[in-house]
């Protein structure tokens, strides 16, 4: 039984991958092989459908039932392919927001980078530049990229420096963050450093 291949099996595999990815909340490696296999299957199906149509044309009868099945498979596979990619881009967007829109930070992570397809890296770059355009409308008042999970309760925050992040310019002068030291700083000034993991709240 296990060797029997049905129309749509590959599409289901691809969907299962998306589902697993949602359940574990991790972005899996881009499954280039499976996507290619599916695309090849689509081409073969298309050829099959065309040849059936031509044969049918000569017979002048009602279309053979096989045609209906093939076309349904083509539609289904295509939707599976698109769903797989759309699911990945929405995961990428979530990740992008989780890191406060720090694209260089995100792309410099070799582990993540290895799981993306080249097109997805391009996509992230374009997404980022589109958002930067949008963000520039609000530059003078607020940064729309900052967190929106918890309303702020105080303006100061105690932080511990987890990773080297050098001298940071703030509204009230510069702060030289030394690893391992603790500081009390204005939350708005260091929000992005906390999100990116340079500072830890205590």
């Amino acid at each position: 039984m296990s060797d029997t291949h049905q129309y749509g099996d590959n599409g289901t595999k691809l969907l299962m991958e998306s589902r697993r990815s949602t359940q574990t909340d991790t972005l899996m490696k881009y499954n280039d092989t499976l996507v290619r296999t599916l695309i090849r299957e689509q081409r073969d199906l298309e050829k099959l459908a065309t040849s059936l149509l031509e044969a049918d044309h000569n017979l002048r009868g009602p279309p053979p039932p096989a045609l209906l099945i093939i076309q349904t498979t083509i539609n289904r596979n295509k939707r599976c392919l698109l769903a797989y990619h759309a699911h990945r881009t929405s995961m990428l967007q979530n990740m992008y927001w989780k890191y406060g829109g720090a694209l260089p930070h995100l792309l410099s992570d070799p582990d993540l980078r290895s799981r993306l397809s080249p097109h997805e890296v391009d996509y992230l770059r374009q997404y980022n530049s589109s958002l930067m355009d949008f963000r520039s409308d609000f530059t003078y008042e607020l940064d729309i990229m900052s967190g929106i999970e918890k309303p702020p309760t105080e303006i100061q925050v105690r932080v511990r420096v987890a990773r080297e992040c050098g001298v940071v310019q703030t509204e009230n002068g510069t702060i030289d963050f030394k690893p391992g030291e603790r500081y009390v700083v204005r939350r708005a000034d260091v929000e992005h450093l906390i999100v990116q993991g340079y500072l830890e709240e205590i």
């Binding site: 539609n75 355009d133 008042e141 309303p151």
Partner: protein, 265 residues
Amino acid sequence: MSNWGREYENRSGFFNDALDVGQGPANPPRQAGFNLDEDIDVAMQPAGAVAPPRRLVENTEEVEQTPLQTMIRHWMNERHSPDILPAQEALLAGLLDHLRSQTRNIQILRDDPRTSESEHIRIMLVQTEIERVKFLIRSYIRTRLYKIERYARFITTNADIQTRLTASEREHASRHAKITDQHLFLSVLQSLPESQAHLDDTPVFYPSMVTQPDKTRPVFVHALQDCPPVALPDGTRLQMNKGHISLTPYHVVEHLVARGEAELV
């Protein structure tokens, strides 16, 4: 979320009290314009309003809504509505302008060596307030952004929904629809046979390829005044009196929310 709104109101009450304490004779008035009390009052006025500064009364039913309260209302509606609501450009611009001038005044007051210790505490309260207002506005903008990205393709084809967006939101929607299409084209569609390489198929029994706002999603609605009866999907009518809270599909109460007769909670 409503908890936060309540807490927020309490805070602003506390905030004004704190400012009142500071208004004793020990505190000689400064040059006008940098007076914090006055600024706070202005914050509650519509931008550009010439009305004299007025104390904020806690009892909201007797006083007209302040811009901030109106903003909180819009923010909650936006967060709960499956559809994109009309943009509040004028309101938002007024609040942003005010945030900017408040920040500037604080900067000047803080750098002024004559600022006393108790005034520093007041400045700190104003700063906290500013951060909280910023949070609210940020959350509002991001909620809209999320929906815009989700329905980007639908927005580019629907003129009605476009009227509810600001110019920059519209641009972002079309940019987003474009890069998503492009990504799908490069990754999948360009490799498929010509007849399959479209994004607007409408095969039977398949859901549409364009994500649309789901107006049948249930929402909790709270009547702010006596509302005209609405028709429920099963044909019965629902008469909501003031204060009534009900769980209905969004499309049933859509017009009430748009007219401000009800709010989503």
